[in-house]
C-alpha cells in the first residue's frame, strides 16, 4: 500500500542496468594481459581452434610460394601433455605460429584455449622464444617455449632454404604421427583449409587451419568447425555431415579434408 512511483522505478531500473553493464564492460581489460583473471576462452579463440589470427599471407603446404614454408619444432612433454609448435616462415620472418599439439582433456582444454592463442600471438610478435608465460598455464607455456625454440633453431639452420614442400612435420614426431594439410578451398565466405594428424593410418586429430572470419562468419565457424573436427576424427573419411546453418563452410571443409586424406593415403 505504500505509494508506488512508477516513473521513479523505471528511471532507477534503467540507470542501474545501464551503469551495471557499462561497469562490467569497463572492468574487462582491452587486450589479454597475462594477469587476466578469467580462465576461459573467448568466442573467437575457440572458433578457429588453436589458431592465431591470419598473419599476412597464410600459405598452406600445397599452395606454398617460394619464400614461405613451415617448420615444426620438437614435441615437448609437459606434466599435462605434449606441446608442439609449428611456424610458418616467410622471408626469414615468422608469420604464423601455432600449436600442433597441446594438452587436452578436462581442465587442460580450458587452459589450452586460454594460453595457446596468446602464445601464438606473442611468438609472432617477438620473433623469438623470449615470450611471456601465460599465468595459470605455466607448464603449457614452458613446453611451448621449448618447442618454439627448437623450431626457430631449425629455421636458422636451414635459413630460408626450406622450400615449403609437402606436409610440415619435419620434427621428431614423424615416427608416430604426421600432419597433413589439405588444399585451401575457397567458399563464398572465405577460405577453408583442414589439417589432419594421421597416425597408424587413422586420423587422430582434425583442425581447420583457415576458416571464414569476420562478422557472422565468426559465429558460424565457432559453431561448425569443432563439430566438423570431431566428425572427421570419428568417421576417418570425408563422408561427414554438414553442419546446418554453415553449409558453405562444411562443404569447403569436406573438400579440404578429402585432399588431405588423399595425400596421407598416397
Amino acid at each position: 500500500m505504500r505509494k508506488s512511483h512508477p516513473m521513479r522505478r523505471v528511471v532507477l531500473a534503467t540507470a542501474a542496468t545501464v551503469s551495471g553493464v557499462v561497469l562490467l564492460l569497463s572492468l574487462k581489460p582491452a587486450s589479454d594481459p597475462a594477469a587476466a583473471s578469467a580462465a576461459g576462452a573467448a568466442p573467437q579463440q575457440t572458433a578457429a581452434g588453436q589458431e592465431s589470427p591470419q598473419g599476412g599471407q597464410q600459405s598452406g603446404a600445397q599452395s606454398a610460394g617460394a619464400a614461405a614454408g613451415t617448420v615444426t619444432g620438437d614435441a615437448t612433454q609437459t606434466q599435462y601433455g605434449t606441446v608442439q609448435v609449428r611456424l610458418t616462415v616467410a622471408n626469414g620472418k615468422v608469420t604464423k605460429a601455432e600449436a600442433v599439439q597441446a594438452p587436452k582433456g578436462g581442465l587442460s582444454d580450458q587452459k589450452t584455449a586460454l594460453a595457446v592463442p596468446r602464445l601464438n600471438q606473442e611468438a609472432v610478435a617477438a620473433q623469438s622464444a623470449q615470450i611471456d608465460a601465460v599465468s595459470g598455464a605455466t607448464y603449457t607455456s614452458t613446453g611451448y617455449k621449448k618447442s618454439l625454440q627448437s623450431a626457430l633453431d631449425k629455421v636458422k639452420a636451414s635459413s630460408g632454404s626450406s622450400s615449403g614442400s609437402s606436409s610440415g612435420s619435419s620434427g621428431s614426431a614423424q615416427a608416430q604421427a604426421r600432419t597433413v594439410t589439405g588444399k585451401a578451398v575457397q567458399t563464398q565466405y572465405g577460405t577453408v583449409q583442414v589439417r589432419i594428424t594421421v597416425g597408424n593410418g587413422k586420423i587422430s586429430k582434425a583442425e581447420a587451419v583457415q576458416a571464414p572470419k569476420g562478422g557472422l562468419s565468426d559465429q558460424k565457424t565457432a559453431l561448425a568447425v569443432p563439430r566438423l573436427n570431431q566428425e572427421a576424427v570419428a568417421a576417418g573419411t570425408a563422408n561427414i555431415d554438414a553442419v546446418s546453418g554453415a553449409t558453405y563452410t562444411s562443404t569447403g571443409y569436406k573438400q579440404s579434408l578429402q585432399s588431405a586424406l588423399d595425400q596421407a593415403g598416397g
Binding site: 500500500m1 553493464v21 574487462k28 587486450s31 594481459p33 587476466a36 580462465a39 569476420g214 562478422g215
Partner: protein, 460 residues
C-alpha cells in the same frame, strides 16, 4: 430471503485455534533471484578474458543483456505457474505485481539484446549502424534457430503492446489474457537460439546443463500446477452451482456445492479462479473470494455486478458445472501476529473479511469489523455479520454516507477515538484502491505499523 450461511461447528472450532504467525518467504525468494542473476553475470565474466575494442563492448553488452533476459524470462513464467508457495504464502497480488514488473524489464532487456547484438555484428562485418536491418535479416537466415527466435521476439513485442496501460484498458480481458498465453510459445521459440548460438553455453557444458535445468523445472512446475493440479481438483470435487441469491441490489452470492470441499484446503480470506461452464462464460475464469468459511458441502462467493462476467453470474442456473482453480491468496489468518485484529471492508470487499470475521482465532472482544458502504442498503451480508458478532462477542461497525450524500470521515483521529488501542491491532483490509489508500494513510497516522497492515491489491 436471508442467506445466513453460518459455518457451524467447523468455523467455531477455527476460532479457537492457536495463533501461529508465519513469515512471508518473499525476502529469501528475492535473495535467491538476485543470487541467480549474479551467477549469470559471473558466467559471462568467466568466459570473457578481454574485450578488444568498442565493437567488442557492444557485442558483450548484447551478451550480458541476452543472458539476463534468458534468466529472467524463466522467472517471469515461474511467477505465473501458480506455485502454492508463491500464491498462498507470498500472495497472489504481490506475485502478480512482480510478474508485471519483471515482465516489462525482461522485454526491455530482450530489445536491448537484439539491438546491441545486431549492431555489433554489423560493425564486425565492416558495416555501420545503418545496416542493422540487413544484418538482422542475414542473421535470421543464416544462424541456427534464429528464425524461431525472431518469431518469438515478435510475439513478445505483441504481448508487451497489449499490456501497456491504455491499450490493456481498452481490450476485453479475455483478449488480453489469450494474447498473454502466447508467452509460452514465445519462450519456447526463443529458448533454442540461446543454446545453439550463445557463446557461454557453447563453451561451458555446465552452463548449458544449468540452463536446461532452469527451463525444465519451470516447465514442470507450469504443467503440474497450472494443468494437472486443477484437473485433479475438479475431478475430485465436482462442483456445481447450487443457488444464486441476490444479497443487495447489484450484489449476488453464488452457492457452490461439491464433494468433500473441506479437503481442498481453502482458508477464509482466500479466493479461487472460477469458470462457470455456461454459454458465454466457458472461456474466461475470474478470481472471486470466498465469502464464508468453506464447508464440507458448500462454498460461497459474493460478487458485485460490475463487469460483463459478474453481471452474468445472476443468470446462472442451479446445476451448472463449475471449474475452479485454487485456493490462492495469502490474506489469511497466518498473516496476523498475536493480538487484536481490525478488519476493514469497503463495499464488496466485505467478502474475504466476512469469512475472516467468522474464523479468525481470537477471544471475545479481540476482533472488530469496520464496514464501509454507500448506504445501509448496500451493506451486503449484514444479518450474517450481526449474527457472527453476537455469537463470538466481536465488534461490528459500519460507516455509510449521510442522507445528504456526505462521505464518512475515516481519519486517524476518528479511528483512534473508536478503537483507542488501534496501534496494537493487526489490520486486514479489502476494498477499492482509492478507499484502501486513504484507510492505509489513516491507519498509519493512528500509529499502526506498516508491517501489520495486510492488504491484497490487484492494481498493477
Amino acid at each position: 430471503m436471508t442467506t445466513t450461511l453460518a459455518g457451524g461447528r467447523a468455523a467455531r472450532r477455527q476460532t479457537m485455534r492457536r495463533i501461529r504467525p508465519r513469515r512471508s518467504p518473499a525476502v529469501p525468494l528475492l535473495l535467491a533471484v538476485w543470487a541467480g542473476a549474479v551467477a549469470v553475470l559471473w558466467l559471462w565474466w568467466h568466459n570473457t578474458p578481454s574485450i578488444a575494442d568498442d565493437n567488442g563492448k557492444i557485442l558483450n553488452a548484447g551478451r550480458i543483456t541476452g543472458l539476463l533476459a534468458g534468466y529472467l524470462m524463466a522467472l517471469v513464467v515461474l511467477q505465473m505457474a501458480r506455485v502454492p508457495a508463491l500464491e498462498r504464502r507470498v500472495g497472489s497480488d504481490r506475485v502478480a505485481r512482480w510478474h508485471a514488473m519483471s515482465g516489462r524489464y525482461t522485454l526491455c532487456l530482450i530489445l536491448a539484446h537484439v539491438f546491441l547484438t545486431m549492431w555489433g555484428y554489423a560493425l564486425q562485418a565492416g558495416k555501420s549502424l545503418g545496416d542493422i536491418v540487413q544484418q538482422t535479416i542475414d542473421s535470421i537466415n543464416q544462424l541456427p534457430d534464429m528464425g524461431k527466435a525472431a518469431i518469438g521476439m515478435a510475439l513478445f513485442v505483441l504481448i508487451g503492446l497489449t499490456s501497456v496501460g491504455p491499450v490493456r484498458r481498452r481490450l476485453p480481458y479475455d483478449t488480453w489474457y489469450h494474447v498473454h498465453l502466447l508467452t509460452y510459445a514465445a519462450v519456447f521459440l526463443t529458448f533454442w537460439h540461446q543454446i545453439t548460438t550463445g557463446n557461454d553455453f557453447a563453451v561451458e557444458p555446465t552452463a548449458k546443463t544449468f540452463w536446461y535445468v532452469l527451463y525444465g523445472s519451470v516447465t514442470a512446475l507450469v504443467l503440474w500446477y497450472r494443468i494437472l493440479t486443477p484437473i485433479r481438483l475438479n475431478l475430485r470435487h465436482r462442483m456445481r452451482v447450487e443457488a444464486v441469491i441476490e444479497e443487495t441490489p447489484g450484489i449476488v452470492s453464488v452457492l457452490i456445492g461439491g464433494r468433500r470441499l473441506h479437503r481442498m484446503g481453502a482458508e477464509a480470506g482466500q479466493f479461487f479462479r472460477w469458470r462457470f461452464l455456461a454459454p458465454g462464460m466457458r472461456f474466461s475464469s475470474h478470481p472471486y473470494s470466498l465469502s464464508a468459511a468453506p464447508r464440507p458441502d458448500m462454498l460461497r462467493i459474493t460478487v458485485k455486478a460490475i463487469g460483463d462476467h459478474s453481471a452474468r453470474l445472476r443468470e446462472l442456473t442451479p446445476g451448472t458445472r463449475v471449474w475452479a482453480e485454487g485456493p490462492y491468496g495469502a490474506l489469511t489468518a497466518q498473516r496476523r501476529s498475536k493480538g487484536k485484529v481490525l478488519l476493514v471492508a469497503g463495499g464488496v470487499g466485505i467478502t474475504p473479511m466476512r469469512a475472516l470475521f467468522e474464523t479468525l482465532p481470537g477471544a471475545s472482544g479481540d476482533i472488530t469489523l469496520l464496514y464501509r458502504a454507500n448506504t445501509t442498503q448496500d451493506l451486503a451480508l449484514w444479518d450474517e455479520l450481526a449474527a457472527i458478532a453476537k455469537e463470538r462477542g466481536a465488534r461490528l461497525m459500519y460507516a455509510v454516507n449521510s442522507p445528504e450524500g456526505e462521505r464518512p470521515d475515516i481519519s486517524a483521529e476518528n479511528l483512534q477515538r473508536k478503537i483507542p488501542d488501534i496501534d496494537h491491532h493487526d489490520v486486514f483490509m479489502c476494498g477499492p484502491p482509492g478507499f484502501a489508500q486513504s484507510v492505509y494513510e489513516a491507519l498509519r497516522g493512528a500509529g499502526v505499523p506498516a508491517r501489520r497492515i495486510h492488504h491484497e491489491s490487484f492494481e498493477m
